[in-house]
Symmetry: C2
Subunit: 251 residues, 2 copies
């Protein structure tokens, strides 16, 4: 696997790519995802875990809203991981995460995840680097456990430029529909941009090489949504799922 | 409140009602629901609990898939209540339900609910009638507790005719996309139709008069979806919700 170097990966779509053409493709993919989720649920052999990470305002919420707009809410759950609660702090860092993994048939989306425990905690030096390194190994074992139980894990890093992030944070101050998302702390965190990039890169390059991170150019929503929808649809299609028959035989 | 008598309530839409006209209206309502959910989530003052009950094949899953197709999965959770687990059986009947009520800002859908504990349990005589009567009072207190904490509770009974149910159960045997839903037990349960109607009526007429049950004619999916979407949108609009502003003043 090639090592990920974030500064070398564009945050914009490739030049010459057509927006409206890809919006149409995304629409078709979203519909296909709805179909695939039906059979995932009916078959009940696999589950899908989508992990979303990214800096503040990188568009994680938007991905959830758009890419999963065609799925039946009955078969899809979203869990946002914020500052751990007191109870959660009394457990190992994977305890609260393990409780939320998808059962067979289900799609689970993580809005932030156990990767916060090797990123924000490293940037703020809340834990030491040797502890971070240990956590990489624990994360790898944990993800393997899920994978061996039939969980497909797709991990997306929403890669925005710092300029684009600043734009979006400013927008939150002027758009009444977005103001509630504004958090003064986001600007503070943004100052640590370079440290975040190092922490992310190290996590991406060390964690679960067979369950790789996908770095998604995320300055343009249409391109980000297209890539993510496409990746999910392709991964589910590979499972070659079938609606169960009463006689127990395959389709 | 008028007492509900199921045999006097039609399972078909009113005569002369136009299907495609109402499908268009439902589409607009679904979009409006998506908007309302955004502000519900942003404001974080209320929550919405949608309770779905109905005989097997009355279309509960379909309602979830269609009516909530415009909501952001981040703000909406679905819980199906099946046969209680061993752990659940060791608790009071509301224990597993209380764990799943929506936090402020969220929509929670119950696919079956605590009403199973006064319906199926009564029909099968797993508990005595005096216990059932006690449960009505406990349910009323429980729903009041939620309501006083800002939860809007909307309870829909999907009212299908027995003929329509038989049709749909048969369809499950012939449609490969529906076969996985087939359960031989559903036919057994269907034989107790009249007892179910009595148990439902009694629950509807006794539980939480100020949080009334709505009996939805459900033989036609387009009409059922229209009525439910309309009821939910109207209930949320009454809340007069606002996007929070940073200065803490109302929009």
């Amino acid at each position: 696997m090639n090592r990920i170097k974030l500064s070398e990966i564009p945050t914009q779509p490739p030049k010459g790519m057509d927006k409206s053409d890809h919006e149409d493709k995304t629409k078709a993919l979203i519909e296909e995802l709805g179909e695939l989720q039906n059979v995932l649920f009916a078959e009940g052999k696999h589950s899908l875990l989508v992990v979303l990470q990214g800096m503040d305002a990188s568009g994680k919420d938007g991905v959830i809203k758009e890419v999963f707009s065609g799925v039946n809410p009955m078969g899809c759950r979203v869990k946002g991981f914020k500052k751990p609660s007191e109870e959660e702090m009394k457990h190992d860092f994977l305890w609260r995460v393990h409780k939320e993994v998808p059962e067979k048939g289900m799609i689970q989306i993580f809005n932030r995840s156990h990767y916060e425990d090797v990123v924000i905690q490293r940037v703020h030096e809340w834990v030491t680097l040797p502890v971070i390194k240990e956590r990489y190994a624990l994360i790898n074992a944990f993800e393997k456990l899920l994978q061996q139980n039939g969980t497909i894990i797709l991990k997306f890093y929403l890669h925005v430029s710092r300029d684009e992030q600043q734009e979006r944070l400013k927008e939150r101050l002027s758009d009444p529909r977005k103001m509630w998302k504004y958090n003064a702390n986001d600007l503070e965190e943004s100052k640590r941009w370079d440290e975040y990039m190092v922490a992310y890169e190290d996590a991406f390059n060390t964690c679960s090489p067979d369950i790789p991170w996908m770095v998604i150019p995320a300055d343009k929503n249409w391109y980000k949504e297209y890539l993510i929808a496409k990746t999910i649809v392709e991964a589910l299609k590979k499972l070659d799922m079938q609606y169960p028959r009463i006689d127990g035989q395959k389709g």
